[in-house]
């Protein structure tokens, strides 16, 4: 169970990233944020976001057009 869940479904670039960044503020260090999105571009973008910021993309998957990301706050 993630420490916080962000529903970014229906939002387009760059809103899922911007909202995730904001949501990460409420996640304790080492804690996790789960993000749900429907923007197909978010797959590449969350990987780039994590590489650049130093947070860890623990896992990501897709189910019926909904993308799920799990980010561990390590930065």
């Amino acid at each position: 169970m993630a420490d916080k869940v962000l529903d970014a479904k229906g939002l387009n670039c760059p809103l899922p990233i911007l909202k995730a960044k904001k949501a990460l503020k409420d996640v304790p260090d080492g804690g996790t944020l789960e993000i749900l999105a429907t923007d197909p571009g978010s797959v590449a973008d969350f990987q780039a976001f994590c590489r650049t910021t130093g947070n860890e993309l623990v896992e990501h998957s897709e189910d019926g057009g909904v993308y799920q990301f799990l980010i561990r706050k390590t930065a």
Binding site: G10, L11, N12, C13, P14, L15, I17, L18, A20, K21, D39, F49, T52, T53, A75
Partner: protein, 170 residues
Amino acid sequence: MSEQSNGSGSVNPHSMTIIVTKGSLDWAYPPFILSTTAAAMGLDVTMFFTFYGLPLLLKDLDLKVTSLGNTAMKMPMMGGHMGMPNLVSAIPGVDRMASKMMKNLIKKKGVASIEDLREMAVEADVRLIACQMTMDLFEYDTSDMIEGIELGGAATYIEVATQSHINLFI
């Protein structure tokens, strides 16, 4: 050894500047999308608003788009993509209609409004510099502009740019 701070030669690898020169609804997107995203990714971001980009700092935005002279502007319509002949674009009211259509599309597709992106830029401490010369040229007053902006000129921008890793002109 002098401290590595504002001195010349020290470039912050996590920094970006954008010169914003266009203020139509469509052209307002790239600078605000990039600045907010870069800030979210931990970069120090500075935007320099000059010429037609300057009105993007006005308190009240009324952004419009025109298809006049823009052959690549095609909107999804009736199952296809339709452009508009220049002659039609020039008819009064057509720009307003096209702007309304694009704003509807923006809402429908979950794309942020420029007002929202700008607010997020301010919240993320993006440095917003209004070009003083353009303020004078087009007779704008700081009271017309949103809070938290700075005034500056070319030298102000160049100083920031010399310390910035990514410098864009849009």
